[in-house]
């Protein structure tokens, strides 16, 4: 019985003794496989060199079990270190990708924020410009009406309109001066501005008339200065658009140039008058203020007979406002959806 027990113990011991190296070698094989997958030999060469030295030492110590065990342990440690190093390098590479992604995201966010701010600012500027333009349009509408027929406005509204026109006239005068206009060319406009400013506290209606005429005179004085500055620039085009919009024109840009369509213009319908109606005079002033290229005035006509009559009347009215010469042409034709008092201006150079 005892002998059988001893045999069993021996068998168990042998089994255990044999199992340890098998497990260890299996573990090493798994580690080596992992290291191969990570390309540890190439990526951690200094650690791999130590590992190979330890393995060589272990292989060379067949007779010394202790030495072999130590060298095996050393080799395993170097192998683990090489694996850890490769894993660290992989993580570092991943992190680099993430950091680049973060950098890109921040850059995109910054770009979008900047663009958003730009758009918001632009919208605010456009809104402010639209308000200013509407105010000027209203002021000009009031100024264009004969004082006796002018709708009864409260004094404050009339003063506000006059102030808007005075401000605009002053700006145009300053622009003309900056472009080199002679003082004599601006004398009348400046005098009218002074008169409008003086009349403003007590007689806002007179101030409105004077301011309107001051603006027209200033625009006329600005024309030659612009002409002396060479070809039409993008700024010149925009300035013409602004001036026409203030007059309530619908604008389109075509192959021929800038087309402005304005409804309900007195003096276009065929009634001749010794003095050009105020709105037509203002259009003429704008045309003179933007001196590049020919300008064609087209009046809407129902038939050729009335068209000819209307064109003749318009030519006369324009002439009295200062729009004469080869640069200005007048014709009549059927304009779609236009009434008899609709006028179309074609600025060929803009």
């Amino acid at each position: 019985m005892i002998a059988r027990g001893l045999w069993l113990l021996l068998v168990l011991c042998l089994a255990c003794g044999a199992r340890v190296p098998r497990t260890r070698s299996a573990l090493d094989a798994a580690r080596l496989k992992k290291a191969a997958l990570l390309h540890a030999k190439e990526r951690a060469p200094e650690l791999w060199r130590e590992l190979e030295q330890a393995r060589a030492a272990a292989a060379g110590a067949k007779d010394d079990a202790e030495l072999r065990a130590d060298q095996d342990a050393i080799a395993r440690l170097w192998l683990e270190a090489a694996i850890a190093e490769c894993e660290r390098a992989d993580l570092a590479a991943q992190r680099l990708v993430i950091e680049r992604e973060i950098e890109g995201l921040y850059a995109a966010a910054l770009r979008d924020q900047k663009r958003s701010t730009q758009l918001t600012d632009e919208a605010a500027r456009k809104a402010a410009a639209a308000i200013a333009r509407n105010e000027a349009m209203l002021a000009l509408e009031r100024a264009a009406t004969i004082p006796s027929r002018r709708p009864k406005l409260d004094k404050q509204a009339e003063s506000s309109a006059a102030r808007a026109l005075i401000g605009r006239a002053q700006l145009v005068i300053e622009s003309a001066r900056a472009l080199g206009a002679q003082a004599s060319a601006l004398t009348e406009a400046s005098a009218l501005v002074d008169r409008a400013s003086a009349a403003l506290p007590a007689h806002s209606d007179q101030a409105l008339d004077a301011a309107d005429r001051a603006l027209s005179q200033a625009l006329i004085a600005l024309g030659p200065m612009r002409a002396s500055h060479g070809a039409v620039s993008q700024g010149d085009k925009q300035a013409l658009v602004d001036d026409l919009q203030v007059l309530g024109a619908r604008l389109t840009r075509g192959d021929q140039g800038l087309v402005a369509q304005i409804d309900d213009v007195q003096g276009v319908g065929g009634s001749s008058s010794a003095t050009a109606p105020r709105r037509l005079a203002r259009l003429c002033a704008v045309a003179l203020a933007h001196p590049h290229g020919p300008v064609r005035f087209v009046v809407a006509a129902e038939n050729p007979q009335t068209g000819a009559r209307q064109a003749a009347a318009l030519t006369q009215a324009l002439s009295s406002a200062g729009c004469t010469g080869e640069r200005f042409g007048v014709e009549s034709r059927a304009l779609g959806q236009a009434s008899g008092r609709t006028l179309e201006l074609l600025f060929l150079a803009y």
Binding site: L47, L77, W78, I98, D112, R115, A127
Partner: protein, 146 residues
């Protein structure tokens, strides 16, 4: 052996910068055999000291550091027994275990840094989305403006 270990215990705690053989009788104890640490051992001990903080919170590093400590102890014992070959092997073992601990700590730190980067990426994504939304609102308003 136990008596010798007790005798050399103060030496194990001694400053790694102490030169070899400077241990005094009062440090070591008059009954103990004076142990001599090689320059390699001192260097390894200095490296291990730098890993002590990480040992507390990183089990994988702790295992390697413990292996290195044991190997140093073995080296000291072998040197005391004048078995230089065994001492050198133990030093090699300590060197390998210390390197492993360092590489594992570097990997742990890289994992932490990657985790932080991932969190930062989420933040950046949220920020980019907010900016994109803000831009699309601004573009819509600009398109609707007169």
């Amino acid at each position: 052996m136990i008596v010798w270990l007790l005798g050399t215990a103060p030496l194990l705690r001694a400053d790694a910068s102490e030169p070899e053989g400077d241990a005094t009788a009062s440090d070591v104890g008059s009954a103990a055999k004076p142990a001599v640490d090689s320059v390699a051992m001192l260097a390894i001990r200095a490296r291990l000291e730098r890993l002590r903080d990480a040992v507390k919170r990183e089990p994988s590093v702790r295992t390697a550091v413990e292996q290195a400590d044991l190997a140093l102890l073995r080296a000291r014992t072998a040197r005391a027994e004048a078995n230089e070959a065994r001492a050198l092997r133990a030093e090699l073992l300590a060197e390998a275990a210390t390197t492993l601990a360092e590489r594992r700590l570097a990997r742990v730190r890289e994992v932490e840094a990657t985790t932080l980067s991932l969190a930062r990426r989420d933040e950046a994504k949220a920020m980019a989305k907010a900016a994109r939304d803000s831009l699309s609102v601004a573009q819509k308003r600009a398109a609707e403006a007169p």
